[in-house]
């Protein structure tokens, strides 16, 4: 064998030995105690570094949860399974929370809600909203330039043909990054097991809404009246659903004259409609009966 070749092998070998010895010494000398639980927790976290917990990435959250600075159920995208795993590692009990997902409180895409002016600037909702509050004539409508799509770490939002973001209910983990980024506050968190939501964000009178959008909440309060569980309240010119009471019966979806109330069961809803109408009739009859009964008891009261 060539002597030069052998020489370099020996040289490098000696160097490697020296460095190895030094590194080994340094590792012992400057050893930092890491709580093994931090690593365990970091491994079970989703690893998307979405920041929904308020800490810098998943590793930051793992450290914080071990230190007791973060709640055990702090990882929203991880959901209950991760919460339970963290709780078992830390030997704590975890409260099971309802999983949430994002919902778009607007149906005013380019076909249903017109623009007030032509916007030709930077393609980003926040920039657009800085110019006269955005190009949409409706002051609360979704601008539709997709800042939420960029913000979503889980690829759960896409844009439909009508320039409205669509949230994939399977992929959405409820981290809330899109809710934070939206300059129009047109995204909202709702329980993942609920089907219906009010797809409108306006705070103005019905007349104004009607002039800017075909499908905005005009404040007729039909849904409030027809809801069998009294789960819908009306305040500040907009209906609100109380998800504690809502049973996903879809009656509100059918009665809404402007199609403001949205449901994930778009295909099924048509099949359900006769059933729902029957339910409404039944409720009306029941109320009428009640009124007549009352009338019979107190003839003086109108």
């Amino acid at each position: 064998m060539d002597l030069v070749f052998l020489g370099s092998i020996i040289e490098l070998g000696v160097l490697a030995l020296c460095f190895g010895a030094f590194l080994g010494f340094a590792a012992k000398k400057f050893h930092v105690e890491v709580d093994p639980r931090v690593e365990q927790i970091d491994e079970i976290l989703p690893g998307a570094n979405c920041g929904a917990c308020g800490f810098p990435g998943c590793a930051g959250f793992a450290q914080a949860v071990v230190d007791g600075d973060a709640p055990v159920n702090g990882c929203i995208p991880g959901g209950d399974s991760v919460t339970e795993a963290i709780a078992s590692i830390l030997g704590k009990s975890a409260e099971v929370s309802t999983p949430m997902i994002a919902a778009l409180k607007c149906r005013g895409g380019k076909e249903r809600a017109h623009d007030a002016f032509v916007y030709e600037g930077v393609e980003n909702c926040i920039s657009a909203a800085l110019i006269m509050d955005g190009p949409k004539a409706c002051p609360n409508a979704c601008i539709g330039l997709g800042s939420c799509i960029e913000a979503c770490a889980f690829d759960a939002i896409s844009m439909d043909d009508n320039d409205l973001p669509v949230i994939d209910r399977e992929k959405c983990t409820g981290c809330g990054a899109c809710v934070v980024i939206c300059p129009k506050d047109v995204l909202e968190m709702m329980p993942a097991d609920s089907d219906v939501w009010i797809a409108c964000n306006n705070v103005y009178s019905g007349k104004l809404v009607k002039s800017v959008c075909e499908t905005g909440c005009i404040g007729c309060r039909l849904c409030v009246r027809e809801c069998p569980k009294d789960a819908i309240t009306f305040e500040n010119n907009l209906a609100h659903i109380d998800y504690e009471k809502c049973t996903n019966c879809q009656i509100c979806v059918v009665v809404c004259p402007t199609g403001t109330i949205h449901t994930k069961r778009t295909g099924e809803i048509l099949n359900d409609a006769p059933k729902i109408r029957a339910a409404i009739e039944k409720k009306k009859a029941r109320e009428k009966e009640k009124r007549e009964k009352l009338k019979a008891q107190n003839p003086n009261v109108k």
């Binding site: 007030a116 930077v122 926040i126 920039s127 800085l130 006269m132 509050d133 103005y204 009178s205």
Partner: protein, 446 residues
């Protein structure tokens, strides 16, 4: 050599449309729609109700908090309703008071009238009247005057400058005001000087208004007021640039003019202050330039606050061709409007109409690193770098590059040979920085 600042651009002046047109009075409309928010700060809260009869100059909205200003009725008549109407500054639907004019022009007497004794007024009373008269900067930003007149204790103001630069193209409202009311402006300046006990008073005018410089120099003789001709350049009328041009002092980053002992106020505000003190007249009318290449008779109009843009454009003869853009304010910093039903507020300095050809936006090309934007930036920033930070969401870096010092004059976007959306990206970066700062503050307080 006239005073100036480093940087700046030279957009076509286009003042000839309206600079020789004397101020005309526009008759009050049948209904005035008065916004409750016409100034920087908290909107006023209404103190009248539907059906109330109000007089001209009567207070109809009370200031809410210190940084706020009251609003006054600009006509005598009946309150029709308080409802949402589109606002020319925010673009949102904001509460406005609708007043049906009964054309009696009956004046309310709410302010003390000092008449010829205006010079004997107590300095504290000046600030009080500025507040009660609802004065706000008439140059465009509409910052409440009484707030500006009350610098924090310990800050000594020695120089008061009146801003008659009017560096925005097309606008001539301040120019006409200086020609037609020079005495009122000078008296207003003396009053401001008195309120702040400042020794040095000056009026700054761009050199393209020699007639205004001449007339004010004549009237200011023996008053100790100095007239500073400034080089014709945009943004010469920005207060920090004007202070530097005249005094050589620099307002520190993040600071306000009082941090370097200066105070800048628009000439129109000085006249309004004199009107309030000497004639007891609150701020319910202002001068608006209605101009633009497609307007039939560009004019300078004295209009009541709450008159719709439509009425002003009609008075100026209307458009001769299809409207491509309607701008409230000057073409550089003004705000394009989506409708002419918006109304004149305290900050409306001009209404400009452009045809479809002028409204075309050119395609954005790649940056060629020519550094023209860096040369013209009046605040010595690097617009192209900050805009890139905005575009690629490098918010911390934008902050380090001084994005918050940007005065949003638009010189960089004007000069850019590649038509890059520099200002828009910088504004995005600024809004993100401010959001970040607010978030951090919230975190700290928790």
């Amino acid at each position: 050599m006239a005073n100036t600042f480093p940087g700046g651009v030279h957009p076509p002046e286009s003042k000839s449309y309206s600079e020789n047109r004397p101020i005309e009075i526009l008759d009050a409309p049948e209904t005035v729609i008065i916004p409750l928010s016409q100034h920087i700060g908290a909107p006023a809260s209404p103190i009248v109700e539907k059906g109330d009869r109000v007089l001209m100059g009567q207070k109809i909205g009370e200031a809410k908090g210190f940084v706020s200003a009251p609003v006054h009725s600009s006509v005598a008549g009946t309150v029709k309703k308080i409802d949402f109407h589109i606002h020319p500054v925010t673009g949102r639907y904001e509460p406005h008071i609708f007043i049906q004019n009964d054309f009696t022009d009956e004046r309310a007497a709410e302010l003390d009238i000092f008449g010829e004794n205006w010079e004997e007024i107590d300095p504290k009373k000046i600030v009080e009247i500025a507040r009660e008269a609802g004065l706000a900067g008439l140059g465009g930003a509409a910052f409440p005057t009484h707030v500006k007149l009350s610098p924090p204790p310990g800050k000594k103001i020695d120089t008061v400058l009146l801003n008659g630069a009017e560096c925005e193209p097309f606008l001539t409202a301040d120019h006409r005001l200086m020609l037609e009311f020079p005495n009122d402006i000078i008296r207003g300046l003396i009053l401001i000087g008195k309120a702040l006990s400042a020794e040095h008073l000056g009026i700054c005018i761009e050199e393209n208004k020699p007639d205004a410089i001449r007339i004010l120099s004549e009237r200011a003789e023996n008053t100790g007021i100095e007239i500073y001709p400034l080089k014709v350049k945009y943004p010469q009328g920005a207060e920090k640039q004007m202070i530097f041009a005249v005094t050589g002092r620099e307002v520190p980053s993040g600071g306000l003019p009082f941090d370097c002992g200066c105070y800048v106020q628009n000439v129109g505000t000085a006249k309004a202050l004199f009107d309030a003190i000497s004639r007891g007249k609150p701020l319910y009318e202002r001068i608006v330039t209605v101009s633009g290449p497609i307007l039939k008779n560009p004019s300078n109009l004295l209009v009541r606050i709450g008159t719709s843009y439509e009425a002003l454009i009609e008075k100026a003869g209307g458009a001769t061709e299809d409207i491509g853009k309607l701008i409230s304010g000057g073409p550089m910093m003004g705000l394009a409007q989506s409708t002419d039903s918006v109304v004149v507020t305290k900050g409306t300095s001009g209404i400009l109409l452009f045809g479809l050809d002028d409204a075309l936006s050119r395609p954005e090309l790649p940056c060629i690193n020519c550094a023209k934007c860096v040369d013209v930036c009046p605040v010595n920033l690097m617009p192209t770098r900050i805009a890139d930070c905005g575009e690629y969401n490098k918010i911390d870096m934008a902050q380090r590059l001084g994005a918050l010092d940007c005065i949003e004059c638009g010189s960089c976007a004007f000069i850019c040979p590649s038509d890059r959306r520099l200002l828009q990206n910088i504004r995005f970066a600024k809004s993100e920085i401010q959001r970040k700062i607010a978030e951090e503050r919230e975190k700290k307080s928790n």
